[in-house]
């Protein structure tokens, strides 16, 4: 292992054995939905790797395919109408697309676990939270009911739920949104997974509660060293929590870079446009009494059942030329670790420098 490299990984990667090695590799993943209106190419050739102990941010707007990518990793896409029609997903070298359903069941929640946006819909309203956490421990670690419950209480304590012994006997509707998300995190971490997929984990929460939950996730990563795939639409959440970032648009990865590199010099017009479209507290406050206009991205996301030829972003892009309308640009490494799928990436990267 390259020690300097692992130090560069910073807080998240430090101290994790094998940090920097890839734990999950996705190659050319295609997940399509077969609907009466045609084939919806929700994920259309996405490749990326998740390294041990890192936080990989996956960012994009509604319908860009970020959640479907996550569900595909755990093979949770509903079939029909969805189907993984191409590519590979490797977890520690094992091909997950070739794994049997029993193997996947053993892996879900144990090696790779997931937390969702709305904890109320992912928790069972009929069982106490202690029992639900204990269920995962009993299933994957073969613990007895009693041991499982004890461990469940211990995990509730670790995610800073006050009075964990009492709370273990609460039902989900007794808890606030923030507390429920803490329960979800306890449940996701109780089997010490190597990868935690967090799909918009704080989107339904108020901003002060979001800060608590993100802090908790960082703390848990510091103690357990799991890799986190953080899926979000919020560029601020990405900037403050991710080591590396994948930007998705219309089912494809359009850019990938280390977090500071991405925010310092976005190489794809979409990334650049998104960053300009976000109102910033600092800019808004210091712009004086007048209010600056936000950068608009013209038009809207194309229908995934009817994508334009060439680059899918071209119809909305200020940089678009005939090249863009004719062929989808290759995904190339333009600077170390900085990949962009754009015919004009060099021009954009030059502008920033």
């Amino acid at each position: 292992m390259d020690h300097a490299n692992s130090l560069e990984q910073g807080f998240a990667g430090g101290g994790v054995p094998g940090a920097g090695e890839s734990v999950l590799e996705i190659n050319g993943l295609k997940t399509h939905f077969f609907t009466p209106d045609g084939v919806v190419r929700a994920v259309d050739g996405v490749s990326c790797e998740v390294r041990r102990g890192e936080t990989l941010g996956v960012v994009g707007e509604s319908g860009c395919g970020k959640s479907v990518t996550a569900l595909s990793i755990l093979r949770l896409v509903a079939d029909p109408p969805g189907r993984i029609v191409g590519g590979s997903i490797r977890f520690e070298g094992r091909d997950l697309l070739a794994a049997s359903e029993a193997e996947m069941e053993a892996l879900r929640g144990n090696d790779i676990s997931m937390i969702f946006q709305e904890p109320m819909t992912s928790l069972n309203p009929l069982y106490t939270v202690g029992r639900q956490i204990g269920e995962a421990i009993a299933l994957h670690q073969g613990a007895s009911k009693r041991e499982a419950m004890e461990q469940a209480v211990e995990f509730l304590r670790r995610v800073h739920i006050p009075e964990p012994e009492r709370r273990a006997h609460s039902y989900p509707h007794h808890l606030s949104g923030g507390m429920r998300q803490r329960v979800m995190i306890a449940m996701a971490l109780c089997c010490n997974p190597k990868v935690l997929i967090a799909d918009e984990p704080t989107t339904a929460l108020d901003v002060t509660i979001q800060a608590q939950i993100l802090e908790l996730m960082r703390e848990m990563q510091g103690s357990y060293g799991q890799a986190i795939v953080l899926i979000t639409h919020d560029m601020g959440v990405v900037a403050e929590n991710a080591d590396r970032v994948v930007v998705m648009y219309a089912g494809r990865k359009v850019e990938e870079a280390e977090v500071d590199e991405l925010f310092d010099r976005p190489g794809h017009p979409y990334t650049k446009g998104l960053l300009g479209a976000i109102p910033s507290l600092e800019v808004a406050a210091t712009a004086g009494p007048g209010r600056g206009r936000l950068n608009e991205i013209e038009g809207m996301v194309p229908s995934l059942a009817n994508l334009p030829p060439g680059c899918t972003f071209a119809p909305r892009c200020g940089y678009a030329t005939d090249d863009c309308r004719n062929a989808y640009p290759p995904h190339r490494e333009h600077r170390p670790g900085h990949w962009v799928a754009c015919w004009h990436a060099d021009r954009l990267l030059g502008e920033e420098g």
């Binding site: 707007e61 800060a211 608590q212 959440v237 403050e240 925010f263 507290l281 406050a285 206009r293």
Partner: protein, 348 residues
């Protein structure tokens, strides 16, 4: 004239478009077969503010703080429990629905959910024209002309007039909602989380549209939202609410640079910053959840989560005071002179 919370009005300036004083809205909790009232949800618990012509007042706070209830109550979509609401100095608090009609023309609303707020059985053109029909403002021909002009103005194009809501995207639906709100040439628009359901790139389009319309038509806005960055961007002044009360009001630059209420400080520091090198940023993280508005804490509502809480805070509710010209806050930290930063020792 009574003092007006927010900024004192300069002499000669006309009356505020909207003025709200001591507004309270409680919802009764009924239980049992006789629906006995067993408690009150104190959704809005003494709120005062004003909005000038062409001004945007942002009202920001977390879920359950009462910000949406304020928006609905000032439009009298909900009857206030207590307090006064005036439009251009005319008290509308006790007006019955018929006498409210002329005021309704002047005050319109844009809703959060562009899916739930448009009638799915009406064409977009009919939706935008309906307010003129209800207020008997224009004949058919004139109405159609105006609807066309409104469609163009909000960036939809007249060819969309015969389409139905389900044929539009979220951003386009919000444009329809804006056109409908503009149909009666209002002076004041209450926007209840009007961009919260939209993706960032579409949100920017709608924010720009609202700001352009305001400059063009000299509209006043009460902009209710939970996203502090959006509120700061669009507002001239910002009021921060916590559990039914305004804890701080000032112009947006002061709010960002010299927040004087501990809750504002925590809220600002909790907003993730979309910039490089933002990781490991120091922040104030509040412990616990927002208490229930059915049984709010005694004294200052925020004392249970406040990092600076003192003995006084548990018993005395602080009043919203102008501690610095144009800067109002309700916090005991400033009882003996303004203290900034909040963590510094009290000023002598």
């Amino acid at each position: 004239m009574n003092p007006v919370v927010g900024t004192a009005l300069a002499a000669g300036e006309s009356l505020p478009v909207l003025e709200v004083r001591g507004l309270r809205k409680f919802f009764p909790i009924r239980q049992g077969i006789f629906s006995r009232v067993t408690g009150q949800v104190r959704a809005v618990d003494g709120v005062s503010f004003h909005i000038g012509r062409g001004e945007t007042l942002g009202l920001v706070g977390e879920s359950g703080c009462g910000k949406s209830t304020v928006g609905r109550t000032v439009l009298k979509l909900l009857e206030p429990t207590e307090g006064r609401i005036s439009v251009h100095g005319e008290d509308i608090t006790d007006l019955d629905p018929i006498r409210m009609m002329p005021f309704r023309q002047r005050m319109q609303m844009i809703f959060q959910d562009p899916y739930a707020s448009l009638n799915p059985r009406m064409s977009a053109g009919a939706i935008v024209g309906e307010p003129m029909l209800i207020h008997e403002l224009a004949g058919r021909g004139e109405r159609e002309e105006r609807v066309e002009a409104l469609f163009e103005r909000v960036g939809l194009g007249r060819r969309h007039m015969n389409s139905y809501p389900h044929e539009f995207s979220g951003g386009q639906r919000q444009r329809i909602g804006i056109a409908r709100a503009l149909a009666l040439n209002p002076e004041l628009i209450v926007g209840d989380e009007p961009v919260s359901a939209l993706d960032v790139s579409i949100q920017a389009q709608i924010i720009n549209l609202l700001m352009d319309l305001q400059d063009e038509l000299k509209l006043s806005f009460l902009f209710v939202a939970h996203d502090l960055a959006v509120v700061e961007h669009i507002s001239h002044r910002v009021a921060v609410m916590y559990l039914g009360r305004i804890v701080e009001v000032t112009d947006k630059a002061s709010l960002f640079e010299t927040a004087l209420h501990p809750y504002t400080e925590a809220l600002l520091s909790a907003v993730p910053v979309p910039k490089a090198r933002a990781r490991g940023r120091r922040r104030v993280i509040l412990s616990g959840d927002v208490p229930s508005p059915i049984n709010p804490p005694t004294g200052c509502h925020f004392h249970t989560r406040c990092p600076y809480s003192m003995a006084r805070c548990r018993t005395d509710a602080p009043e919203l005071r102008e501690v610095h010209p144009g800067h109002w806050t309700a916090c005991h930290l400033h009882d003996d002179g303004v203290r900034f930063p909040l963590a510094s020792p009290a000023a002598a």
